[in-house]
């Protein structure tokens, strides 16, 4: 009996689930939410700090996109966020709530840093390869452990993956402190210019160090962004076009249906979590080798959690994630630029930047409610008589 309708006294407002919604309508609602957020923040900032909305938004835009010093950091940070969101996509599509991307990335970064520091005698191409491989394995293991426990014992993956974050962070802290020794900070790994044979070993830029590096392809940032872009495209194809992607979607929809279809649910859970963890690990490798050239437990920077929002807002579409990642980072960097520009003149505190980002996210995520549900008002005259 699917059409059971409970008839009670009808309230003034009631909320019903939409069966389906046209794509243009959904985008119109999202656009409305975005404009709503713009208006709300403009009013808020104008009333409290007296900053003119047009100044506010032009400062935000410039701080996020205009000029090399602003555009590149935005894109780099967005790429990192995108990479983690892409890693989460298959797990979330399977309804496996992996909130351990932070730990999986740290595990990968740790493995990369370890190889980089301990085996710096290898030729650089080999060193990079080994770092990459170990990162993928470490991240994969960090994803595998909660998956095995989930598959075999039915443990709660949310708590498990969350706890794995702290374990990874503490391992990183441990090595950080050992490697740092008596110094106040670790500094760059293989960063001592006097140790010529290992100087910048394990860095991508080792290949062109000391030579003309102003061309676009001799930039670690470029490769960081390009490789992550490629990963996003590959993941899109994997989820949409391959049999494994299909299996993930079936398991995510109904495990009973998966069993009925002859899919081994446990196998899919474990395989998918290895992939999810491995991509986080790979992100850790690239961040160490192309970006930070060092390690600390702060290297993931909370992106493992922000990426959850990105993945959800994109509805697991990894191409849409690219746009959403840029948006989120642009909001962060733009708001920070506003804080920098106005903190002395108007007393605009830098923490207000976080409020601006949060308001935007609230509006946009909140709009999903109006996409999924319809608000009905009671029509008193048209009240049905049963």
């Amino acid at each position: 009996m699917e059409n059971k309708i409970k008839k009670r006294r009808e309230p003034l407002i009631h909320i019903s689930k939409r069966i389906s919604v046209a794509a243009w309508k959904a985008w119109l609602i999202r656009l409305g939410a975005f404009l709503g957020a713009l208006t709300f923040i403009a009013l808020f900032v104008y009333l409290i700090f007296g900053i003119n909305p047009s100044d506010l938004y032009s400062t935000m835009f410039k701080g996020a996109f205009v000029g090399k010093n602003y555009l590149i950091p935005t894109l780099k940070a967005a790429a990192k966020l995108l990479c983690i969101a892409v890693a989460l996509a298959p797990a979330f599509k399977m309804r496996f709530w992996n909130i351990g991307a932070e730990g999986q990335m740290l595990a990968g970064a740790m493995a990369a840093a370890f190889v980089m520091r301990e085996y710096s005698a290898m030729p650089n191409w080999l060193l990079l390869l080994v770092m990459c491989l170990f990162s993928i394995i470490a991240g994969g293991i960090w994803g595998l452990i909660p998956a095995v426990f989930k598959a075999k014992f039915g443990t709660n993956e949310t708590l498990f993956t969350l706890m794995m974050n702290y374990i990874a962070a503490k391992i990183v802290d441990y090595f950080y402190n050992i490697w740092r020794g008596a110094k106040s900070a670790l500094g760059l790994i293989n960063g001592n210019v006097l140790q010529k044979d290992i100087y910048e070993k394990g860095y991508l830029r080792y290949f062109w160090s000391g030579k003309n590096d102003s061309v676009w392809y001799k930039s670690e940032d470029t490769w960081y962004i390009i490789i992550i872009g490629i990963i996003a495209i590959l993941m899109y194809v994997y989820l949409k076009k391959t049999k494994q992607g299909y299996e993930i979607a079936v398991v995510g929809d109904s495990q009973n249906t998966a069993r009925y279809a002859g899919i081994s649910v446990n196998k899919v859970i474990i395989r998918t979590m290895i992939i999810s963890g491995a991509i986080c690990g790979l992100c850790g490798f690239m961040t160490v080798s192309f970006q930070s050239h060092s390690i600390s437990s702060e290297i993931a920077g909370g992106y493992g959690f922000t990426a959850i929002i990105v993945a959800w807002m994109s509805r697991m579409n990894t191409l849409a994630m690219a746009g959403v990642s840029v948006l989120v980072i642009a909001l962060e960097n733009g708001s920070q630029a506003v804080a920098n520009a106005y903190s002395t003149s108007t007393g605009f505190p830098s923490s207000t930047a976080s409020i601006i980002v949060s308001v935007f996210l609230m509006f946009i995520i909140g709009s999903e409610f109006f996409i999924n549900y319809k608000i009905n008002f009671r029509h008193i005259s048209a009240k049905e008589v049963a």
Binding site: N3, I5, I19, V250, Y260
Partner: protein, 518 residues
């Protein structure tokens, strides 16, 4: 009866859900200090009626009187205030709490919790009615019977005068059942009114004072138990035979296809949901499965499909066809392994979206659910699935905005067409359907019957699990009757009567249970 008002009186109660009338103009009463059995087939409206009494539903029209006063029960809270309590089949207890803690849970009161007084009252109630319950025991340490006792104590603690028990004996052993009946009688003698929803006729006769019978949403009669027999009750419950115009071709040279021997299934709670089932299934015939819902139908089909762990000594054998040369055992095989044998086994499960289909996907992706992995490519091939989706859409007239519309958003009938269509298009050797026409309108139902009959003519061995006895008697060649997870025999659907099948569904090992229709 004297002029003391009845504990409960239903007057012209009607309740509809969309186009389905669950209760139609029901009027009867329950007296104080009596045990009343509410009897009826699946879908006869018993649960709906009781839900209105316990405040889960509200009647569309009609009135309920409690002790002679007209009342309006709008929520479970109202029911509680009127002293009405219901015990559901699935207990609502907190495992890590003790008996006393569970009893006081949810009661209004001050911030401070006086567990000691509560404990004393629980002990007192137990003593009064003869319950054996330790007030300090944790629920996770208790067996099913004790949990049920706790549910009853919970209601008595809340001073309920009217107790509704929904199939209370389904999970009990005969001895526990006897104990339950004893305390029920004690409660009756204390002046409480007890309503028992049950399908088991011998229990109805053993425990109740009167029996009220519902059929297809209508009230039939209330009889004194002393004047009733199992046969008279069954007749009232199933009603007169309705002649349906469903085709039933004679089986053409039937060959043995599946042989089930001593099949048993134990569920996660350790209860035997299937017990020692044996039967043979022939190609070209339809074997109907009759039984009250939850009597092992689901487990039986899933065991054959490779989705249920079977108990020791079970045997399911697939007999050779043109393509498969030797006998294959299906025990312990996964659906994939069965398919790899080359056995085309089609299964339309009861839970369409939860097991048969992927609700969030469109028709083509659902078409390839069992076949997506047939080639060696790592990529999906959507060409054939799209073609078969189009075919099914056209031949079965599936109403869908587009092929890619998520099947979840289609109507129940169309979802069923997609599922049945896919299962039949795979040219099966065995077709199993569970409640194939549940919730469908007449036209769609007949379309499904025709599809199943076509498969029968093709020589497919069909298992048809149904709930409407008229349909089962009209479409099946033979009917296997399940009763509480046990086989109660196989009857010839052409010669048997509705009463006989109804009786076999409700009473184990009764008249004519053993004659094989083959």
């Amino acid at each position: 009866m004297s002029d003391i008002p009845a504990a409960i009186e239903f007057k012209n109660i009607t309740k509809t859900f969309g186009s389905i009338t669950a209760n139609s103009d029901i009027s009867f009463e329950i007296r104080r200090g009596e045990i009343l059995s509410l009897l009826g087939e699946n879908g006869s409206g018993k649960t709906t009626l009781m839900n209105m009494l316990s405040g889960i539903y509200y009647p569309d029209s009609g009135k309920i009187y409690i002790n002679g006063n007209s009342v309006s029960i709008k929520s479970p809270k109202d029911a509680y205030k009127l002293g009405i309590g219901m015990i559901h089949q699935h207990f609502k207890l907190i495992d890590v709490f003790t008996v006393t803690e569970n009893v006081v849970l949810g009661l209004p009161g001050k911030i401070g919790l006086d567990l000691k007084t509560a404990r004393d009252r629980v002990t007192e109630i137990c003593k009064k009615y003869g319950f054996e319950l330790n007030p300090d025991q944790k629920v996770y340490d208790m067996n099913v019977s004790q949990k049920q006792t706790l549910e009853i104590v919970k209601l008595l603690y809340r001073k309920a005068d009217i107790l509704i028990l929904d199939e209370p004996t389904a999970v009990l052993t005969p001895q526990e059942t006897e104990n339950l009946f004893k305390v029920i009688r004690n409660m009756r003698d204390d002046g409480k009114s007890i309503i028992i929803i049950t399908h088991k006729l011998h229990e109805v006769l053993a425990v109740s004072d009167r029996v009220a019978i519902l059929r297809k949403g209508e009230y039939i009669a209330t009889v004194n138990t002393g004047e009733a027999t199992e046969l008279s009750l069954t007749e009232m419950m199933v009603g007169k035979k309705v002649i349906l115009n469903i085709d039933r071709p004679e089986p053409l040279n039937p060959v043995k296809r599946i042989e089930v021997q001593g099949l048993s299934v134990v569920n996660a709670e350790g209860i035997k949901t299937l017990d020692d089932i044996s039967f043979e299934l022939y190609g070209g015939e339809i074997l109907g499965i009759a039984g009250i819902s939850g009597c092992g139908q689901k487990e039986l089909l899933e065991a054959i499909a490779g989705l249920q762990k079977t108990g020791p000594g079970s045997s399911i054998k697939f007999h050779p066809t043109d393509d498969i040369k030797d006998v294959k055992s299906l025990i312990g095989k996964t659906p994939k392994e069965i398919r790899n044998y080359g056995i085309a086994l089609s299964f339309v499960p009861e839970d369409r979206l939860g097991m048969g289909l992927v609700g969030s996907m469109g028709m083509p992706e659902n078409m390839m659910l069992k076949t997506y992995n047939e080639d060696n490519s790592i990529f999906l091939n959507l060409k054939n699935p799209v073609k078969s989706a189009e075919e099914i859409k056209n031949t079965l007239e599936v109403a869908t905005p587009s092929l890619n519309t998520p099947v979840r958003t289609l109507s129940g009938g169309n979802i069923q067409k997609v599922l049945v269509g896919r299962e039949i298009s795979s040219v099966p050797a065995v077709l199993m359907t569970a409640y194939a026409v549940r919730g469908l309108d007449i036209n769609t139902s007949y379309m499904i019957y025709d599809l199943i009959n076509e498969q029968k003519k093709r020589g497919v061995a069909v298992i048809f699990v149904g709930e409407d006895l008229d349909v089962l008697l009209a479409i099946s060649d033979r009917i296997l009757v399940l009763c509480g997870g046990k086989s109660n025999g196989i009857v010839d659907a052409r010669t048997t009567t509705k009463e006989k099948v109804g009786l076999m569904m409700t009473t184990l090992n009764n008249v004519g249970g053993s004659q094989d229709g083959k």
